[in-house]
Amino acid sequence: MQSSDFHSTARAQLKLVVVGHVDHGKSTLIGRLLHDTGALPPGKLEEIKATSARRGMPVEWSFALDSFQAERDQAITIDTTQIWFRTPTRDTVIIDAPGHREFLKNMVSGAAQADAAVLVIDAEEGVRDQSRRHAYLLHLLGLRQIAVVVNKMDLVAFSQDRFATISEEITAYLVRIGLTPKVIIPISAREGDYIASPSSRLAWFKGPTLVEAIDAFSPKSVSAQLPLRLPIQDVYKFDQRRILVGRIESGTLRVGDKLLFSPSNKTAEVRSIESFGDQTMPTEAKTGEAVGFTLSEQIFVERGELGSHESAPPVLSTIFRATIFWLASHPLVIGQRLKLKLTTREVIVTVQSIDKVIDTETLAPSAGSEVSRNAVAEITLRSQNVVALDEYRDNPATGRFSLVDGYDTVAGGLISMEGYPDQRPNLRKNPELYHVDHILSAEVRATRNGHYGSVLWFTGLSGAGKSTLAMRLEQALFARGYQVYVLDGDNVRAGLNADLGYAPKDRAENIRRVGQVAALFADAGFIVITAFISPYQADREYARSASPKAFHEIHIKADVATCEKRDIKGLYKKARAGLIDDFTGISAPYEEPANPNLAIDTKSQSIDACLEKLISYVDDKIRHR
């Protein structure tokens, strides 16, 4: 018998996921692997044979794994399963992932835990859509060790040419997504070729067996070089101690360290690292440990704060990009509000834009207004509150998140800050972000809203398209999560300005009031779009003076002839007939803006083209970065 020391020392454990297109033989491969390495319990082979015979099948190796009646009956894997097997060097957990497109969430659940992967491809069918999609997801999930097996070689007469064709095709794909296969092996899972031992029928192949390939993989480990990241899980006060608990996602925690908590920006010194049952108190804790610790000062820190050292803090931001996989049956759309879970932090986020939808088949990026089930996309998310995070490439554990819609997890994502700066320096200058007992500044509102409070003052002739474009722009900005509101004749004349008529003096007063109301909206952080003819330069200048920094004069431009031809409300006809006095463009002047911030030509451009121009102006000038 071995000494008890042996039992408490580490045995390296590898988690291996087996993925691939449906019916390419994943479960069969695993069943065979267990059999060939002597891992099946006694009687199991007989049980498999009997179960297969009852269903009139040849020996169905997958029955070693698939355990739901529905799985056996339909000979498919519905949910991921795990099975342990041992080689002389170590224990391996094999995760069997389903290949059906509709069970992709189960595949992701299995693959996310794995250190390495085996991608199974049917020699007859070749590379299929789930082969590619699974490979793409493996890459997104952070897997870098992958072996490809070309299965069912018996069905293609162990053809070296067929193997070469498939090898080339899959290698080309994998390399494009940044995965280099460690090895590609021709096998027959049903017959047992090249699983645990080489096969004379594949004498032309000189590579390792699958078992050898698996033994060459190593368990994933977090780099010891990464800075400390300690998300707070909870604060316990079971006795006189106030113990903060959390798991060290990276780095080392030492007694005496000064910790910075983000996003609250509070600091305190680690007084002790607590443990139950140990004789000696630990003085340090490393990556992966679930720790409890106390602070030398009683500061208010709660679940969701991210602990770090001051010298290497996480990024703070309310906006970031992400590559996501979308698992819900309903599509992701712009403007959607979701709960984001990043380590122990939960915040509400809005989908600001869908930047790229990636076709996992062709890898072609395309623009899109929605992301459908099981698709991959690059999106921009904006959060209501500041989030402490890292870019995924810098620190995987604090650079990835899940998204929850209602009660359900609907996506996973990896963070990139490309195009967005760390807001930490800015937030330092604005301590009121943390202590709201000061007067809120425009910058603080802009940080929360993702844009500056602004007045988009549309001016132009009747029929030029002011109201139409104002409404369309309002919808588009609202969908991006912006705070936006339109002021036009309809909602102003009915209440605020019900006492005003159309005489020149009343018109000037109308514009004055609209200018003041718009300025208040802008001050409150809103984007307000006004849609008034506002023909006089002097009136517009007066409106500008109410909110000089936030005012954007936008000329919605079409000549009288064009507007008269449109004449949607029939006003031009009435004016020509003399039924309306002082009609701008006919019987009253329109003073074109001399220097507008933006001119939109609605005569020669479509509404959509005009709208796009307006949106890119807002993105450029008003969005908070």
Partner: protein
């Protein structure tokens, strides 16, 4: 960190996640090696406090040594243990095979417990390597109001982000040692010096590898009379852990039926 350290850290993390996110929790403590090892880690996770009740689903059919072990540990560790008497076999689904019906008494007991006390989360010491159905479990596994497990449509679970949002009436089974193997549990029990029911150790060439009700659980042939010997035995054995559990072997899908309707 050794593999055992990693497994322990993962279990502590899961226990604390559940405690932070789910109100009104309870833990099933069957007094066996798995739930006792879990109990050991609960004490570590909460620094000696056990902030939820430990429930024995009591059929009155546990082996005598099991009851004696429980009483001793409850006193020594000052455990908040409660006993939930299970309804008689007549109240279970008559279409189930006999041993499964005996086991299903616990399902009924658990349903009563949950509906009476309104628990939203139940900790269970099940492991993936025990049984093929359990291998497909999630760490946080939602159950409908009548305890049904919709195993055809389980929530995605990745990057240690667990499902913690539920509609009214749904409760969640939490499995903090799902990833441990039988061998891991014994190595950990040895390393930590966790007490065990003596029935696990061989006497006269027989020992219990898994403890259940006395009418449906049987000892297996073994000479392993110490934890070291058990570990050595498990390093080489290929016999399944639940070989001595009658209900697993009555029909192709007997355990599936038990679990789908709410068994642990």
């Amino acid at each position: 960190m050794t593999d055992l350290d990693k497994l322990e850290a993962q279990t502590l993390y899961i226990l604390r996640e559940a405690y932070a996110r789910i109100s009104n929790l309870a833990m099933l403590w069957s007094i066996g090696k798995d739930s006792t090892a879990l109990l050991w880690m609960v004490r570590k996770a909460f620094f000696g406090t056990i902030p939820f009740p430990l429930v024995l689903l009591d059929t009155g059919m546990e082996l005598d040594e099991v009851y004696a072990f429980r009483d001793q540990l409850v006193t020594e560790w000052k455990l908040p243990a409660i006993s939930e008497p299970c309804p008689p076999e007549e109240s279970t689904d008559p279409s189930l095979p006999p041993a499964s019906r005996a086991a299903a008494r616990k399902t009924e007991g658990l349903k009563n417990l949950i509906s009476r006390n309104g628990y939203q989360g139940i900790f269970l010491g099940i492991r993936r390597d025990e049984q093929a159905m359990r291998a497909k479990e999630r760490v946080f596994s939602p159950r409908s109001i009548d305890g049904q497990w919709d195993f055809r449509d389980q929530p995605p679970e990745f990057w240690d982000q667990y499902k913690t949002d539920f509609p009214e009436g749904v409760h969640v089974r939490i499995h903090p040692i799902l990833q441990w193997t039988e061998l891991d549990i014994w190595r950990y029990t040895k390393r930590e010096g966790i007490p065990i029911v003596p029935l696990y150790l061989a006497r006269n060439g027989k020992r219990y590898r898994s403890l259940g009700e006395k009418n449906i659980t049987f000892p297996v042939n073994s000479n392993a009379d110490s934890i070291d010997a058990i570990i050595a035995e498990l390093e080489t054995t290929k016999t399944s852990e639940r070989a001595g559990r009658a209900m697993d072997h009555e029909a192709e899908d007997s355990f599936e039926r038990l679990r789908a309707t709410g068994y642990m």
